[in-house]
């Protein structure tokens, strides 16, 4: 797992049944991320929150990246 904001990486033990939502929350907690929206991507593809890793085609040794999803723009 890669933290897009810092470049830090961490290895995660995951099962096919783990959902993308769970992975995002675990990684955000591990890196003490601010409350905010984040997405997980593999390569150029954003992974669907509710899908599990098996459905998303994630394999062992794949590198997933946690990136912040910006929210602002009006204030």
């Amino acid at each position: 797992m890669k933290n897009a904001e810092t470049g830090a990486t961490v290895e995660m033990e995951l099962e096919n049944e783990n959902t993308v939502d769970e992975v995002i929350e675990s990684a955000a907690t591990f890196w003490s991320k601010d409350m905010g929206a984040y997405v997980l991507r593999k390569g150029k593809k954003v992974l669907r929150g509710g899908s599990n890793l098996g459905e998303s085609g994630i394999r062992a040794d794949d590198v997933l990246e946690l990136i912040p999803d910006p929210e602002g723009g009006r204030l």
Binding site: K44, E71, R74, L75
Partner: protein, 264 residues
């Protein structure tokens, strides 16, 4: 015989240089009806770029008023507007009109949620210049249901994002959301016991990222109205100004997202 040509005429035409871009359909641009939701930082930049690109029919919606902290990123706002607590949509509309006198611009000092749902169908393109997930969900779902292209921009510090949602087949904004979005959307609302209060987030922001995001948004709108669909962002443009990186990301259509799950 046609109109006589005049020496130096090319330098009198405001859009002469734009006309030299072959694929740009300036007639379509001037006839397109644009709904701009949000008239803050991104909204100011989008408004400027829309008018200077030749868009002539624009509706601006924002319920908020100008404050001093807006002035570092908002071309059309002044200290006087902040002192007077002038409505953002009204100030932006006035500023746009000063850039192009023949502009047909209408402003509404209103929340988009309080506007009639038909407002989406009444326009050709929706420009999302918002600052929170809850408003994006509203605008995204209504624009998609009305079969209107939504060009949505967002930023946080030096990170910016533009997403183009193209119904009926493309991914919508909610296809790219997950549980973290739901959490922050719910955090924006709290019950005081008497009323429901909406907390608006104050995120880091500066003008250079705002400008990049707004420019990409208006460029995509130009492609939409000019029929340059093969060159539209297929999904999402992601920009990291700190690292000088930008790239296109794929947001797959999610048949189970709240918007698509409701479709027949």
């Amino acid at each position: 015989m046609g109109e006589p040509i005049r020496a130096g005429a090319v330098d009198q035409d405001m859009f002469d240089r734009s006309r030299r871009i072959e694929w740009l359909d300036l007639d379509a641009v001037s006839n397109a009806k644009i709904l701009m939701v949000g008239a803050g930082a991104i909204g100011n930049e989008v408004a400027k770029d829309l008018v200077l690109s030749g868009f002539k029919r624009i509706t601006v919606v924002d319920m908020d008023h100008v404050v001093g902290s807006n002035l570092s990123r908002c071309l059309f706002f002044s200290e006087h507007d902040a002192k007077e607590k002038a409505n953002k949509a009204r100030v932006v509309a006035k500023g746009m009109k000063e850039l192009a006198d023949d502009l047909e611009v209408v402003s509404f000092a209103s929340r988009i949620e309080d506007m009639p749902g038909s407002v989406f169908k009444d326009h050709d393109i929706v420009m999302g210049c918002l600052d929170n997930v809850a408003a994006r969900i509203h605008v995204g779902s209504h624009a998609y249901a009305a079969d209107r292209v939504l060009v949505d921009g967002a930023m946080d510090g030096f990170v910016g994002k533009v997403m183009v949602a193209r119904p009926p087949d493309g991914a919508c904004l909610q296809c790219g959301m997950n549980r973290t979005h739901s959490k922050i959307a719910s955090l924006r609302f709290s019950c005081t016991g008497k009323d429901l209060v909406f907390h608006e987030p104050r995120v880091p922001a500066e003008i250079t990222t705002t400008s990049v995001v707004a420019a990409v948004m208006v460029r995509e709108a130009l492609k939409v109205v000019s029929g340059k669909h093969e060159n539209l962002l297929s999904n999402c443009f992601y920009y990291d100004g700190l690292r000088n990186v930008s790239e296109e990301m794929e947001v797959p259509r999610d048949p189970d997202c709240p918007v698509h799950a409701r479709q027949p």
